[in-house]
Subunit: 147 residues, 2 copies
DNA sequence: GGTTAGACTTAGAACTATTCTAAGTCTATA
DNA sequence: TATAGACTTAGAATAGTTCTAAGTCTAACC
């Protein structure tokens, strides 16, 4: 888990997948290779485009199947910031996000140091599943040059 | 703004809309009537169903147009907790949410008392647009009666 | 190394929430 | 009451995602 994002030769990706009980097919290795090249946010369409940018083909159905599998196995995390588009986040450490809806850009906020105080108790018979903090930002309107 | 959720006869809804520069058509008054009967979370489908439960008809297009208008005018707020479905929140006070993805239920958390500490500075040339906190919860698995 | 059951991948159809289109209706103003 | 433009509407269109059913690959076994 600590070696994600370092080196990442195909053989290592293969092992990372096996450790999570995922059969490392060529398509899955390729998708994991783009996801874990570095911490980043992708929509399914991004992954589909990158994985197919040379020539070898991975189908859209497999991209969706694989992203779903990786979520289930804890290799990536989903982020919801707008309707009709899921982001897949290769950073699975606890962290939060800035989101600029103008540009569509999603940026990490380290959870260390961000503290939520005085949350009320959870509803009866429920347990915590996670806390998502989205800080929505927008490009500042310069007062010098108004629209 | 402080009289939302009190009484709310049609004449008052009409006035609430006019105050926000919204022409109070019969469809808009009807939609506002269901939204502001009390603080609650609705998806577009919910609003469409309630508004048409007697017999008079409001089209789906108008439900979407009107919800979009009310968002633009600050009468309701959108909440995104899963892909492919927007919630409209008639509570526009700053507050956060519990979300149970099992039941689909969204519950308010008063923002008073919930404090976010040590957020990093915003990216250059951006300004704050809002902070959404989603506390994801799930039904607790009783250890006595495991699945 | 060959067999084989089941896991995996695929193209394309289907689906769902939402937006768009273009034609008719209503509202506000004069 | 006439009118310009705002509003509403049914249905078509769109976009992201999931499903289907048929072929391909993987891994376990011989
Ligand atoms: Mn993207
Ligand atoms: Mn709903
Ligand atoms: Zn992230
Ligand atoms: Zn709420």
């Amino acid at each position: 888990m600590g070696m994600k994002f370092q080196m990442m030769q195909p053989a290592q990706i293969t092992e990372l997948l096996r450790r999570r009980q995922i059969t490392p097919t060529s398509q899955r290795v390729k998708i994991a290779g783009t996801l874990f090249a570095g911490p980043a946010h992708f929509c399914a369409e991004d992954v589909y485009a990158r994985v197919n940018e040379d020539d070898a083909e991975v189908s859209k159905a497999t991209v969706y199947n694989t992203l779903g599998l990786f979520v289930a196995k804890g290799l990536v995390r989903q982020v919801f910031v707008e309707p009709g588009k899921v982001f897949y986040d290769s950073n699975t450490q606890p962290h939060h996000h800035f989101y600029d809806s103008g540009t569509g850009e999603l940026t990490d906020i380290d959870a260390v140091g961000v503290a939520l105080h005085e949350l009320p108790p959870l509803p009866a018979d429920t347990e915590l599943d996670g806390v998502d903090v989205i800080v929505r930002i927008r490009q500042r309107q310069s007062k010098d040059r108004p629209a």
